[in-house]
């Protein structure tokens, strides 16, 4: 029965999201606009580690200077992802609040951990949809000739996304009944996400900038996996208490 309940929860969340597309569109638009702003408003000041500037019109050595991503653009990428994720995470229980359906959900004889799993998977899916659009834009704007290296970052993106979605869902539940939850959510969540951003940034920079193989960033991947595991176990153990009135 648990599997059927989880599928029902996921189907409901995805149906509700696809009916309006508010959340995923706002995430995608934010991520793309932020990259456009950085690309055309700030690119002249960004220097890769090899000294090559980021492509900025006719002054840029597009595709000739080899990899052009340094730590700053990789950090920018992940900061944009985190803030785009925040838009989605702040709406984790939006439908339950708008339609007053939280009681309906609480009345169902369902393990609260399943509610966490469904919400976290939905948040993960929204993140991935946003990234499917945003990562190619990032590659187009900042990597050009070496954009294909971003594909190697897939495990980094997946592990970091699991961390973002699980911690974000946990915190969104913690602040569910708070009056100023839209303010409280980032205040509580952002410090918790700092380790993910640092690990994901350094792994992304190493892979895309220096062409490091995945094996060279195993330590960071291990850290991300451990971070995910810690918060998933924490959610498993505490979610029933968090969902109580």
């Amino acid at each position: 029965m648990a599997g059927r309940q989880l599928i029902a929860l996921l189907r409901r969340d995805l149906l509700l999201e696809t009916r309006r597309l508010q959340t995923v569109l706002s995430m995608v638009i934010f991520a793309v606009v932020a990259m456009v702003v950085v690309r055309y408003g700030w690119s002249a000041d960004l220097q890769g580690p090899s000294g090559a500037s980021f492509p900025s019109g006719d002054t840029a050595p597009v595709g000739e200077a080899g990899p052009t991503v340094g730590a700053v653009p990789a950090a920018m990428l992940w900061v944009i992802f985190v803030f785009a994720a925040m838009l989605g995470l702040s709406r984790t229980f939006a439908h339950e609040r708008e339609d007053d359906c939280l009681d309906g959900l609480l009345l169902c004889p369902v393990d609260r951990v399943l509610v966490f799993c469904a919400k976290a998977i939905t948040n993960l899916a929204l993140l991935l949809v946003m990234q499917v659009v945003a990562i190619p834009v990032f590659g187009l704007f900042f990597l050009e000739g070496s954009a294909v290296r971003l594909l190697v970052c897939t495990p980094v993106v997946l592990l970091a996304d699991i961390g973002l979605a699980s911690v974000g869902t946990l915190v969104a539940t913690m602040v569910l009944h708070a009056r100023s939850r839209d303010l409280v959510l980032p205040v509580v969540l952002l410090p918790l996400l700092v380790p993910v951003v640092i690990a994901a940034t350094s792994a992304t920079a190493a892979i895309v900038d220096r062409g490091a193989p995945l094996a060279d960033v195993l330590g960071r991947l291990g850290f991300l996996a451990a971070y995910d595991a810690v918060f998933l176990v924490l959610a498993w153990g505490t979610y029933g208490l968090l969902m109580r009135d």
Binding site: R12, C101, L106, C108, P109
Partner: protein, 233 residues
């Protein structure tokens, strides 16, 4: 029923409440409430706004823990067996607890899956027929009228065939047709389902009532049924 506690079995009560209190901060909304209802009883719960009627209903639905005291619903303790209590209870609150962007059928199908019903599609269709909403089954819940949403909320509450029905002012804002549908459903449920119905207008559901109580100053007081009967006539 398996898992029935000794206290309820001995008392023979389907809903048993003893010394139940609930505080919100310093304010004590319910004080030492005691109540016993046998299976199939129909309780009308009256009282002024803010008297604590909704709080009592939410506690019985295991949506809200009491500050002290104990309560058992369908043989299950609301503190230690909340999942079993929720499985036994159908609840209609002030709001319909429906997702406005899902259709009527999708809403019922979702709850049918959550309750693990064996044939959710058939049960959904059956309940839509029962509340006369089959023709609107593909309309979003947000597009239905207030009365239709309330009928859908009643269908949601009855979906899993609960042995206890908790209704919080179910006639509020209903037109004649919707009220008639609710009358028919209560007529069908009376005697076989234990019903607690909160209302400010007792005349309509009085015909099924086996007990009437008033919540006043956080306590339950017996209410003179003859006075209410006279008012109805």
């Amino acid at each position: 029923m398996t898992g029935r506690s000794a206290a309820v079995t001995q008392a023979g009560a389907w809903i048993a409440v003893e010394g139940l209190s609930r505080r919100f901060g310093r304010r004590e909304v319910l004080r030492e409430v005691a109540l016993e209802l046998p299976q199939g009883a129909f309780l009308l719960l009256l009282g002024a706004n803010g008297a604590g009627k909704t709080t009592l209903l939410r506690i019985l639905a295991a949506l809200l823990p009491p500050s002290s005291g104990r309560a058992e619903v369908a043989g299950h303790d609301i503190r230690t067996e909340p999942v079993a209590v929720r499985r036994a209870v159908g609840y209609v609150g002030h709001t319909p607890l429906l997702y406005r962007d899902l259709t009527a059928a999708e809403n019922l199908r979702f709850y049918a899956d959550m309750y693990g019903l064996p044939d959710p599609s058939a049960r959904t269709a059956e309940m839509l027929d029962r509340v006369e909403l089959r023709r609107r089954s593909h309309d979003a819940a947000g597009e239905l009228s207030r009365g239709m949403r309330q009928r859908l909320a009643i269908a949601r509450a009855l979906l899993h065939d609960p042995s206890v029905l908790l209704l919080d002012e179910p006639y509020g804002g209903l037109d004649d047709r919707a009220a008639a549908v609710l009358d028919r459903i209560l007529e069908e449920q009376a005697g076989r389902t234990t019903v607690v119905l909160v209302t400010h207008e007792p005349a309509r559901p009085m015909r099924w009532a086996t007990a009437v109580r008033e919540v006043r100053d956080g306590r339950l007081h017996p209410r003179d049924v003859h006075v209410l009967d006279a008012g109805r006539r």
